[in-house]
């Protein structure tokens, strides 16, 4: 896991990191059974 890519990715996309994390959590939650997370 490359944490720098996470920080840089949010910056390049122009989104707040916490908002980005919450957005991705929700996106993955919506497909949780397919990706083995619920």
């Amino acid at each position: 896991m490359n944490r720098d890519d996470v920080y840089r990715g949010a910056g390049e996309l122009g989104v707040d990191l916490d908002e980005h994390i919450g957005f991705v959590i929700q996106a993955l939650t919506d497909v949780a059974p397919r990706i083995g997370l619920g």
Binding site: M1, R3, E12, L13, F23, I25, A27, A32, I35, L37
Partner: protein, 147 residues
């Protein structure tokens, strides 16, 4: 242009690992969500997410991944902007991130993997209830490596 079923066939032809396939689906989901948010093409954004690491088992080392794989994608009818995003998600490829699609894939790839790792160490390996603050805390915990 190749459709989602075609992209899935390409992915599963070259990717046998269940964990890599799940990662592909996770990044696809993140990309589709961002495409909807930005009013972008969900099919293209989702395809970039699904296929960004499709050649990893064949070419696990840089720069063959994803440069060699990109040639295959073009031959399978994957749109050039999607292929560019796949190339640009790897810094070492030399392909700059110039479009929102490029930047979206780069932003979604590593974080989707990290959020997955955070969920997999929870009881029941469930993402439901996972909080932003918990992910942020693990990002700051350099010792956290996931399952």
């Amino acid at each position: 242009m190749i459709d989602r079923d075609g992209a899935w066939q390409v992915l599963t032809e070259f990717t046998k690992s269940e964990s890599l396939r799940k990662h592909a689906l996770a990044v696809e989901a993140s990309m589709r969500a961002y495409a909807a948010r930005y009013g972008e093409d969900q099919e293209r954004w989702g395809m970039a997410g699904m296929l960004h690491d499709f050649d990893y088992e064949m070419h696990p080392t840089a720069p063959r991944h994803p440069v060699k794989g990109a040639e295959i994608l073009l031959g399978r009818g994957v749109p050039a902007p999607v292929v560019h995003a796949v190339l640009a998600h790897a810094d070492y490829s030399g392909y700059p991130r110039v479009s929102r699609l490029d930047r979206g894939l780069y932003a979604c790839d590593e974080l989707s993997g990290f959020v997955t790792a955070c969920a997999l160490v929870r009881p029941g390996k469930a993402i439901a209830g996972l909080q932003t603050a918990s992910v942020r805390k693990k990002l700051q915990d350099k010792a956290f490596r996931g399952p």
